[in-house]
Amino acid sequence: MKKGTSKKYRLVRGLRVASQSVFVLVFLWLFIGARYTGEDYIGSTVQRFFHFDPLLALVTVVSARMVYAWFAFSLLTVALTLVLGRFFCGWVCPFGSVHQFSSFLAKKTGFLKPPREEKAGLASKYYILFLILAAALFGLDLAGWLDPFSFLTRSLAVAVFPALAHAMSNLSGLAYGVGWMAFGRAVSNLARNWSLNPTFTQGFGVGLLFLAAVGLNARKERFWCRYLCPTGALLGLLSRWNALKLRIDDAACVKCGLCTQHCETQARPYPNDKWRSGECVYCFTCAAICPTSAIRFPLRLSPEKAGNVSDAAIGRRRLVLSTLLGVVAVPFFRLTPAAKRASAKLIRPPGSLPEEKFLAKCVKCGQCMRACPTNGLQPALGQAGPEGVWTPVLVPRVGYCEYYCSLCTQVCPTGAIRKLTIEQKNAVKIGTAWVNRSRCIPHVLGKPCIVCEEHCPVSPKAIRLVEVETRLPSGETVVQKAPFVDVETCIGCGICENKCPVVDEPAIFVTSVGESRSARNRLLLEITGPDAPGEGQGR
């Protein structure tokens, strides 16, 4: 069977699988690394992958009109793609590897039987790309939803690893139940050391989308990479002068069609002059499986323009239409009142840029949510308008902002959250706490509590205690210590809301007002001077 195949290209294919495995493992390792390790400052995490992504670089810089130096690495990807083609998709991209591997499984299990020649159009990803680029011109960042790194990181952060955390907790509970104490403890410690967050409001939806993206590989091999991936489309457009060009030795070719049938990305190796250089991801499957070793990828040092980058029937009219669609989409995304008036529940992580710039930069990768030690950072659904779906928002009822922690600011790939030291972070106000006196236990029930006060991390405490009188139906008047929030020292961390014993609708809650990143969402007008009203009172 393997007699006539090329030993050399089987080796190259093996190297490609090895490269993919290494990059997937590095990706996972960096992903898991974004956590509290016992050190306050962590080194490189998975955001380094993002910096090599030219789509994210282009869209982020264009939509935010801000240069972010780390994205200089993406120029390397561009340069290498000009020489080597879409090797990035085939050899590096971890999401590509996920699709490749699941396609492989789908074929091995018989779920997927590739036709002799796939006829489906390849143009959709180019339309998606142009739509995204057009919107970026108007400051709308759509890349985050479909960029492979964002998609994969978000899915892992919000769905896959949380599910793993549940599984590990159950496993450890099971082990304790049957008396395997050491094993139960080991599993429990591993989950804790990885600091896996188990709870996400959008976990189910994001998880379903991930499963769908993977499941589509049972329909078409590397479905995502062929039809959807805007980053792949961008790299495809650059794959014009590839030094490695597919050559079929006509004398050896038996025209069996295996190469085209098993081409992962529909690049159609046969006939030679129809090969789509912009679709080929250099997986070397065709060269490795060719029964007569007729396929080679000789190195051409003199640039030679490919005759056929992608005959994906990218109609000029359709291209213009999709570009226009991107432009037209912009006002629809801006219909929300969120742009005019700050949303109470939109509590952004400390270090977040002002909302407009934040939305233009955030790629919704969920890396900050992964790093958050309390699970408080959650993917937004409606809080930030349509543009802000899956951007991070602090939900104090799930988790609060840990005082001596600035991890979320250290992992952002685009600088939507500026990097802060712990000292800088503690000077940032992300919101303000308010007491709901109609639910507060001392206020309304006349019973002691003070839980919010004891948890307030700033010193002197932003939650002070004042004595309040409550008249009970019996006619008795009781005096209890009740919380009073000093809005000037409150940083909005939300631990008070998180720990409030009134669990369903906490009697103390944080809203975004007074957040230091926004001038519009201001609470107190600072008027200083000797004659300023109220000065010196109540301090």
Binding site: S172, S188, S195, P373, Y404, P448, V451, E454, H455, S459
Partner: protein, 299 residues
């Protein structure tokens, strides 16, 4: 049946060891009815801890060979030692050493912290200190929680950490701090950290909860860290100016007497603390320092 169980326990050594300590305690203990309280002052937290335990007759009075001992510090907050929010790590280290020297099988250090556990364990310095001394540091584990019949006067049952209640002996190692509700948090308040569940609801009758929990957990020994105490913005402080250097460690088998003496560092009379009065009524000890034999030392 009874005899067989007696023999079995004898074989395991549990009962034998238990009787042994009781006899020993009778010999080395203070005058009848007078609890002994060690108050040791000095520059080194480790040295004063060691001296305080020695003043009570040594760790062997409290720990038997082969015991699984739980040492329960306050690791509640993500704060460095000089903020006096968590027990001094050197005090914990010394107790782990003494416990293991006394022949304990293992010395487990655990607390159900308020902030993220790992942060508290690391920043307080307690994890490193306890590990260096050969202790076993356990994180609170949601799967190691069981509802226990406290049979208290207010709290009938509550979720407790199995790793604490399954121990042969428990040593309570709190730090003395200001608290806005119980006024001070010392030994008896420290038991909230051995509980799980909605602990924040215990505040509705906190003094009663503290007494019920103290009656349930029954420490063999209480060592109160007053090396650096938190005098305001408790129970976590946040500034050096919230703390006061008092360079003392208290130790005693009577948890009420230990907390009573601790109150004097805050210029308070023990009788001002409701939970101490309740605890004495319950027979957990005495807050009347006149009735306590003080052993004051300086190292």
């Amino acid at each position: 049946m009874e005899r067989r169980r007696f023999l079995r326990e004898l074989a395991v050594g549990g009962l034998a060891a238990g009787l042994g300590t009781r006899f020993l305690a009778g010999q080395a203990g203070p005058a009848a009815g007078q609890p002994l309280l060690a108050v040791v002052e000095g520059d080194s937290p480790a040295a004063i801890t060691k001296e305080a335990v020695a003043a009570l007759g040594g760790m062997k009075r409290f720990v038997s060979r082969g015991d699984r001992v739980v040492i329960k510090p306050n690791i509640g907050w993500d704060r460095t030692p000089e903020m006096a929010a968590c027990t001094n790590p050197d005090v914990v280290r010394t107790l782990v050493e003494l416990t293991l020297e006394a022949g304990a099988k293992e010395a487990v250090v655990i607390d159900n912290s308020t902030n993220q556990a790992r942060r508290c364990y690391v920043r307080s310095g307690i994890m490193e200190a306890a590990k260096q001394a050969g202790g076993k540091v356990l994180y609170p584990d949601e799967n190691r929680v069981r509802k226990a019949a406290l049979k208290g006067e207010w709290l009938k049952e509550w979720d407790v950490m199995l790793d604490v209640v399954e121990a042969d002996k428990v040593i309570n190692v709190p730090i003395a701090k200001h608290h806005s509700l119980s006024r001070l948090t010392m030994g008896m308040k420290n038991w909230l950290g051995a509980c799980a569940g909605a602990r924040n609801q215990l505040h509705q009758k906190l003094d009663y909860a503290m007494v019920d929990l103290a009656a349930f957990f029954k420490p063999a020994l209480t060592v109160l860290d007053c090396y650096r105490i938190l005098v305001r913005n408790g129970p976590q402080g946040g500034r050096l100016s919230d703390t006061k250097l008092t360079k003392t460690v208290l130790a005693g088998a009577d948890p009420v007497a230990v907390d009573a003496y601790g109150a004097t560092f805050f210029d308070m009379q023990p009788a001002e603390l409701l939970y101490l009065r309740l605890a004495q009524e319950r027979g957990l000890g005495t807050y009347d320092l006149q009735k306590v034999r003080l052993e004051k030392r300086n190292v």
